[in-house]
């Protein structure tokens, strides 16, 4: 396998289901932190769950960051678009 692949950064749109904390203050703080993220568009909150649209060049890293937010208990993926640019040729 070629040593490295250098792909140009590609924006990936994906949708997530976020499970939030049971207690209201923690949940509210988590929602505030989520809303402040520029890569995240939240949908309608239902109980402890909220759908979200993630637009990121590093979706895995973003999901890890989101899951690390206090009050976010679980991150699940529902939908993902593939980057429009093809993978670059190996260097």
């Amino acid at each position: 396998m070629p040593e490295t692949f250098r792909a140009p950064p590609s924006l990936v749109h994906s949708s997530l289901v976020l499970s939030l904390a049971a207690d209201a203050p923690t949940r509210a703080a988590a929602l505030a932190a989520l809303q402040s993220r520029s890569d995240l568009e939240l949908g309608r909150v239902s109980g402890r769950w909220v759908p979200a649209l993630l637009s990121s060049f590093d979706p895995l890293g973003a999901c890890r960051d989101i899951e690390a937010i206090d009050g976010v208990e679980h991150v699940e993926v529902v939908f993902v678009t593939l980057p429009e640019t093809a993978n670059a040729a190996p260097s």
Partner: protein, 819 residues
């Protein structure tokens, strides 16, 4: 609206629908109807269904295609398995088709270099190798084979060449689960299903990490807790993983001592009288091994069983395992409580084990002894790692001793039944099992003059050059053996293609029709949705073309009882179609034809798989699938249980109708604790454990081509306890030399990552072709299942390079490692 905008809206709508369903008072209601066929949305994206390409969970997805290319993936909302969800690997399943170095033409190695050749020449070359010595030909296949691919090769080898040297890579992952189920119930595969996770009060993880390896299944448990349900999660493991973070109790045990723990639980159940005497009296016998050990063992009385368990007192088990006495008693308390429903889950920790059959038997035995069996939520379940280790390997029987449908070559009645189904002359099928995986590769990598009687191996859909244990001995010995010939069919260059003499480009996933069978007996079908690149072709076509060429060259085994070619296909008008000719391959649905031919084999052991057309209409169906009086087909979520299984005798409640003892009873085994075949000592003081990571699928041949996954996890690492590292003068990012008696490897050290081994244990993932940890692993295997132990061997660690200036927080790259 631009396509991109439409997809963004679709994405959020899909997630919103999942949330709405969860938040509903009755989440099981309002499930979307299963897709009735491909759908094209206003943005011109064509959506069709498929099971995910990756793990044995078998999530169903919708694949969005536009202009001949996958543009989006969605979790299938109507799918029982994943209920609209994907996982982090499923996230990128569409992208795996588009690595820049896809194999696109057949290539033959000449003068050390792979050179393009045509398909006709490639098939002819392989066929002539086989004709020269059919008995010295072997096939190494895969739990990632589709069912038709595995069935075609099964038929070619066993019905055609009378050659049982057919083995799957699933020997390395599932064989101990198979022998466990066979020796306990008389038939393979879990009786329960994923619905057990929705009903269990307690879930015990026996050395597995589903938070990373089966995330969608793990999500079921998390989702129940989020709803406020009480689900106790116990993580019984040898190192803390991502699953541990969610566990109510983490019980860390010394490697190999799971055998003692299981016996300790059984000991206490008897000592306290909390075992389920009524269930055992009605449904079980006791069993012990013969000497030498064997799959079916010999009878044991209850008193003998009790006596054998006597030494496994809590104190003794604590001494062997490192668990506290209170923890052992806690586990026994759980199993002794019939008000609880307990689901045991396991995967490689129990299967890749030098006593893998034994530990599988013991965990089944705890459930049977305590009566935690026969109700939804009470289930001992081995999860599979590959998408069709169950459907293809275990059900089609692509193993050196097996025939389709759970039949075996050594049984004369089974052979006769298969010969009749295949319309073969009596005596065609070879009664002698072939070489199992480790033997097969040893024979191939041994000079012919020294008894290496396998001269040609054809590898399909797997990468043994990276995944076999003790690699230098079991694979790299092929170097320099000029008379040996390795053929590899794959989608990307791998460590295996690097040693191959002939490389064939294969179609992958939705570039071909396919059928998989997942961990819960669910058979799932998909149609081809995009074209493969270049001259890549489906593996099933390659096998048919090989069979036809052998027929043309006059191999007698390619003819059936009537002298006709083994593989015959007809269109709807009844006209013969030469599907082995590429231009005619898609003139009919070859998958459908082969699968419908295979289906009757599944009736023998009541594993009735659904008709193909039923699979087309569904997101999979769990066998046995039985036709009802009204002509519909009904699946079976729970096997051997009267409320669900149509083959259970009325009034029986629970009936193990394929029991070893032929009396509808399962077997509770005693197997002793035995030390690992290689344990740490003064020279090699660490336990080395290997395994997978969230981002990469097995040997990384697909996922390393996805830039986001590669960036997230670029290379392997040495995970160790910070105190052990400090004692060796190692810091985060330093390069250490890891050594076993089989090899050595320099690896970057990763401390306080997502998993945390205890002192005295190190972990290395096996996905990285540049850091092939299997050069260090142990080739010892379970004497019954022949499955190697990748989880335990002795190692030592030494500091190698100077420390780095900065200590990165995440996975450490090897980019700057010195030469």
């Amino acid at each position: 609206m631009l396509r991109r905008e439409f997809l963004r809206h679709s994405a959020l709508a899909a997630a919103s629908a999942v949330v709405a369903r969860r938040a509903a008072a009755a989440p099981s209601a309002n499930v979307p109807a299963a897709p009735t066929g491909p759908v094209t949305t206003p943005d011109g994206v064509r959506w069709d269904k498929a099971p995910c390409r990756f793990c044995g969970t078998g999530c169903h997805v919708r694949v969005g295609v536009k202009d001949g290319r996958i543009v989006a993936i969605q979790g299938e909302p109507s799918a029982d398995v994943n209920k609209g969800l994907l996982c982090m690997k499923g996230y990128h399943v569409g992208a795996i088709l588009y690595g820049p170095d896809r194999l696109t033409v057949p290539q033959l190695r000449r003068n050390g270099r792979l050179e393009p050749i045509g398909w006709e020449e490639a098939i002819d070359l392989l066929a002539r190798r086989v004709m020269a010595n059919p008995a010295g030909f072997a096939v190494y296949g895969s739990g990632q084979w589709t069912i038709p691919e595995g069935y075609a090769m099964q038929k070619l080898m066993k019905a055609g060449l009378a050659n049982n040297h057919l083995e799957p890579n699933a020997r390395l992952c599932m064989a101990s689960a198979v022998t466990g189920y066979l020796s306990v119930y008389g038939v393979d595969e879990p009786a329960g299903c994923y619905d057990d996770l929705d009903a269990a009060d307690v879930v015990i993880l026996w050395g597995n990490n589903p938070a990373e390896m089966h995330p969608v299944l793990f999500s079921r448990i998390i989702d129940r807790r989020t709803r406020g349900e009480a689900v106790t999660l116990i993580d019984l493991g040898t190192r803390r993983t991502r699953s541990t973070a969610y566990a109510d109790r983490y019980l860390e045990f010394r490697p190999q001592s799971d055998l003692a723990i299981a016996n300790g639980i059984a000991h206490l159940l008897l000592a306290r009288g909390t075992w389920d005497r009524a269930f055992v009296d009605q449904h079980c016998h006791f069993r012990q091994d013969t000497d030498p050990v064997s799959l079916l063992g010999r009878p044991m009385t209850f008193e003998e069983y009790r006596a054998a368990l006597a030494p496994y007192t809590p104190d003794r088990v604590a001494q062997l395992s490192g668990l506290a006495v209170a923890d052992i008693e806690y586990l026994a308390d759980l199993f002794g409580n019939r008000d609880l429903r307990i689901c045991s889950l396991w995967c490689m920790g129990m299967n890749q084990h030098t006593r893998g059959t034994a530990i599988n038997r013991l965990v089944h035995g705890i459930h049977l002894l305590s009566g935690h069996w026969g109700r939804p939520g009470d289930a001992p379940t081995s999860l599979t790692g590959q998408p069709s280790a169950c459907g293809t390997v275990r059900e089609v029987g692509t193993l050196c001793h097996a025939l389709p449908g759970g039949l075996v070559v050594a049984n004369a009645e089974h052979r006769a039944e298969c010969e009749d189904l295949w319309n073969l002359p009596r005596g065609r099928i070879n009664p002698t099992p072939g070489y199992h995986t480790v033997q097969l590769w040893e024979k191939f990598c041994t000079p012919t003059a020294d008894g290496g009687d396998i001269h040609t191996v054809f590898v399909q859909v797997t990468n043994p050059g990276q995944s076999l244990p003790d690699l230098a001995r079991t694979f790299q010995g092929k170097k320099g053996l000029e008379d040996k010939f390795l053929v590899v069919s794959d989608v990307y260059p791998t460590a295996t293609t690097e040693l191959a003499d002939l490389v064939l480009p294969a179609a992958m996933w939705v570039e071909k029709n396919g059928i998989y069978g997942n961990s819960e007996r669910r058979t799932q079908q998909w149609f081809k949705q995009v074209d493969p690149p270049g001259q890549a072709r489906p593996d099933v076509w390659i096998t048919l073309a090989l069979a036809r060429r052998l027929f043309e060259l006059g191999h007698p085994g390619m003819r059936d009882r009537d002298g006709e070619f083994l593989f015959r296909f007809r269109d709807e008008a009844g006209r013969e179609v030469p599907a082995w000719e590429w231009e005619h391959f898609y003139a009919i649905n070859v998958d459908r034809a082969l699968y419908e031919e295979y289906r009757p084999f599944t009736f023998h052991k009541h594993k009735h798989v659904a008709p193909y057309d039923e699979l087309v209409r569904a997101c999979g169906l769990r066998w046995p699938v039985v036709e009802q009086a009204d002509g519909t087909f009904r699946e079976t979520p729970f096997r051997f249980m009267e409320f669900s299984d149509p083959f259970v005798r009325r009034g029986a409640g629970v009936q193990f109708y394929h029991s070893v003892t032929k009396d509808d009873r399962a077997l509770i085994w005693f197997n002793p604790y035995e030390p690992a075949t290689e344990e740490p000592d003064a020279d090699f003081p660490f336990w080395l454990c290997t395994g997978r990571v969230l981002e990469h699928w097995h040997t990384g041949s697909m996922t390393l081509r996805v830039p986001q996954l590669r960036a997230a996890m670029p290379n392997a690492y040495l995970e160790m306890h910070p105190a052990d590292a400090a004692a060796l003068g190692l810091r985060q990012g330093d390069v250490a030399t890891l050594e076993t008696r089989r090899g050595r490897l320099d690896l970057p050290v990763w401390l306080e990552g997502r998993a945390h081994p205890p002192r005295g244990t190190v972990f290395v993932p096996f996905f990285d072709p540049h850091l092939p940890i299997n050069e260090l692993t142990l080739g010892d295997y379970c004497p019954i299942s022949k499955e190697p132990d990748y989880k335990k061997c002795a190692a030592r660690v030494q500091r190698r390079a100077a420390s780095r200036a900065a200590a990165p927080a995440g996975p450490v790259t090897v980019a700057a490692m010195p030469g």
